[in-house]
């Protein structure tokens, strides 16, 4: 069922067994699981089925740390959430991502990778991915053209990725959600407060507000916040009527440890023998390629050198040309144009293909010699990288996000070390040579103006067994609050080397299973 919350009378009370706040990848993944449940699910979405400038403006915020992408363009505030413009890159997190690594402060998940495996397998079809296979050999057997570089596997390994079409949750799952017997979707239902009980041990209800000032209350047995890292933190911090520091923030952790993936051009690879070196394994023909590899350092090498987990992807190019970071490559206007093109039935060339740099379209030779090396690396967990509340308020009267993205020396040293080790291995095997980009040759504290993430917002309500070190426990329940949970990448204690979507869907399914045991 679907109701536009604006059509309800002021002061309406919405009730259900489970309330999910946010209809993005996490919220919809959970809601789908309850479609035929005997219990009732309330799914609240702040936006509607289409993007609305006024809704997007609620996501605008103050940026005070490292330069960042406009916040109102980085995430989408409508049904389907940011899957409305994601690129579909999926891979699993590595076992080392879950471990406590002495050289990475604040690392370690309270769960192991193996615990996520069954949920990864369930997440694959939701994202329209292939089989749950991320072993290079599996893909090599199916395509003789795929050939990993003959590098020492004890040092460098091919980390496999799969590509979602990409699945637009707002389109693909709209009917399933609207027609689900047990799920009631409310659009234009912006939650402006999580109301704690007097003892601050449970959530009593939620306050939902409209632009015209109307308010409704939502009452449920359990609540799941699934409205992305920044908005989850904002909502918890702004819910400070009873808990003055915000809900779940007894230890000043809500909003901290914000993490991104560092996506930035970092080097060049020049092949020694391009005619005899197969590169298809590492290349992507967007929309066609089902799986490809990126170059990753093994857990042992990371440990030996005390560095973070990350990969390099290969992009054909020419030496000396300017290469753009992710944020540079996809400015907000282009993102918007691409969404409009998709919505209009993909008539004509995509705005993205028109804007591609000459190297990406023109360099189609059979045996390319030069590849740009693009970093994708986890950011070290950092309590000073954080989301707080701005003094400025949005049109709903909520304090806006104040965003202070901070990086550490470990982040930069890890990227440089990665490329030095990759360069040594390329040289040792005679495959080619690696060049570091200029920005990596300076000290470890300075970052280039084109520093970029991948619009991957993680952390802010990190998972830890100890309430003094994490906002949620291993079951994603907010410490100290009996019926409040967080879904999505907001709970990640570390960012991993892979994009977050597959893992956040897997974690959401895991949370859904857990809630079923709690509520039935």
């Amino acid at each position: 069922m679907h109701t536009d919350a604006r059509t309800l009378e002021n002061g309406s009370v919405i009730q259900g067994d489970l309330c999910i706040v946010g209809a993005g990848a996490a919220g919809i993944s959970i809601a789908r699981e309850w479609a035929n449940s005997p219990l009732s699910v309330v799914l609240l979405e702040g936006g509607g089925f289409d993007l609305e400038p006024a809704m997007q403006d609620l996501y605008r915020g103050e940026i005070v740390g490292q330069p960042y992408f406009p916040l109102e363009a980085a995430r989408l505030h409508f049904f389907g959430g940011t899957t409305g413009h994601w690129a579909g890159y999926c891979s699993t997190y590595d076992p080392i991502d879950f471990e406590t690594r002495p050289w990475v402060p604040h690392s370690g998940w309270p769960i192991r990778r193996e615990e996520l495996d069954p949920f990864y397998a369930r997440a694959q079809p939701i994202l329209d991915l292939g089989p749950y296979e991320y072993d290079a050999e599996y893909w090599v057997k199916r395509d003789k053209e795929l050939e990993p570089f003959p590098l020492d596997r004890n040092k460098v390994w091919p980390k496999m990725w799969q590509f979602s079409p990409p699945t637009r949750f707002g389109t693909k799952y709209r009917d399933a959600i609207v027609n689900a017997r047990s799920v009631h979707l409310y659009t234009h239902a912006n939650v402006c407060e999580v109301e704690a009980n007097e003892a601050q041990s449970a959530v009593d209800g939620l306050r939902v507000r409209m632009f015209d000032g109307k308010e409704h209350r939502v009452k449920a047995r359990c609540y799941v916040l699934a409205c992305c890292s920044m908005q989850n933190a904002r909502l918890l911090l702004a819910s400070n009527r009873r808990a003055t520091a915000g809900i779940g923030n007894a230890h000043d952790l809500v909003g901290r440890y914000f993490m991104e993936h560092l996506e930035i051009p970092s080097g060049e690879l020049v092949l020694a023998k391009p005619q005899s070196t197969k590169t298809k394994m590492y290349e992507i023909d967007y929309g066609v390629t089902k799986a490809r590899a990126e170059l990753a350092l093994t857990a042992q090498v990371q440990k030996e050198h005390g560095i973070l987990n990350g990969t390099a992807s290969l992009e054909r190019g020419v030496l000396g040309e300017q290469v753009q970071s992710t944020f540079q490559f996809l400015p907000p206007e282009l993102l918007k144009a691409t969404m409009a093109w998709e919505k209009g039935g993909k008539v004509g060339p995509s705005p993205l293909s028109i804007s591609l740099p000459p190297a990406a379209t023109a360099v189609q030779q059979a045996a390319p010699r030069v590849f740009h090396l693009m970093t994708r690396q986890e950011q070290a967990p950092n309590p000073n990288s954080r989301v707080t509340l701005s003094t400025e308020k949005d049109a709903m009267g909520m304090p806006r996000v104040k965003f202070d993205w901070q990086l550490t020396e470990l982040d930069k040293r890890s990227i440089r070390t990665y490329y030095k080790l990759l360069g040594q291995e390329m040289g040792r095997t005679g495959l080619g040579r690696v060049q570091l980009r200029d920005w990596l040759l300076s000290d470890d504290r300075t970052w280039p103006s084109f520093i970029s993430g991948g619009w991957h917002h993680m952390g802010t309500t990190r998972m830890h067994a100890d309430p003094k070190q994490g906002v949620v426990d291993a079951n994603c329940r907010v410490h100290g609050i009996g019926n409040l949970y967080v879904a999505g990448a907001a709970v990640y204690p570390t960012a991993g080397a892979a994009n977050p979507t597959l893992t956040l869907v897997a974690l959401s399914l895991r949370l859904s299973d857990y809630l079923r045991t709690k509520l039935t």
């Binding site: 080097g267 020049v270 092949l271 020694a272 030496l319 010699r369 490329y419 030095k420 360069g423 040594q424 291995e425 040289g427 040792r428 095997t429 005679g430 080619g432 040579r433 690696v434 060049q435 570091l436 980009r437 200029d438 990596l440 040759l441």
Partner: protein, 126 residues
Amino acid sequence: MTLDRRRFLQLAATGMVAGLTTSACAQDTSEHARELNKPALLEMLGPERTREIGTQYRAAMPSENTAAALRDAISTSRHRQFPWILHKSIEEQVRDDFAAGRTVVVSGWILSETEARQCALYSLSV
């Protein structure tokens, strides 16, 4: 001429190694002189970038700013590596450098010490 380690030790025991070493080195010098001036990077990066790398290397290493000093450094490095009597091509020496972590960063390029010196030699020759 190639020689494995066991054979080398046998010869050493019979006192024949000194002569062999001299012979190998002489051959080494003549065979590799041309190789030295033609780094593999030429094909990968082209003459301009190779020359630039060489120039930068010499600027960073003033003690190796002559052809003789560079050849000497390459040769010294070559014979420092065990088994030093083996006939190694420059390509092998370069790979050995990478394997042993004997690398330098010049103009951002991660290079073996040997090939960086080759670039320097090249930059002096053009």
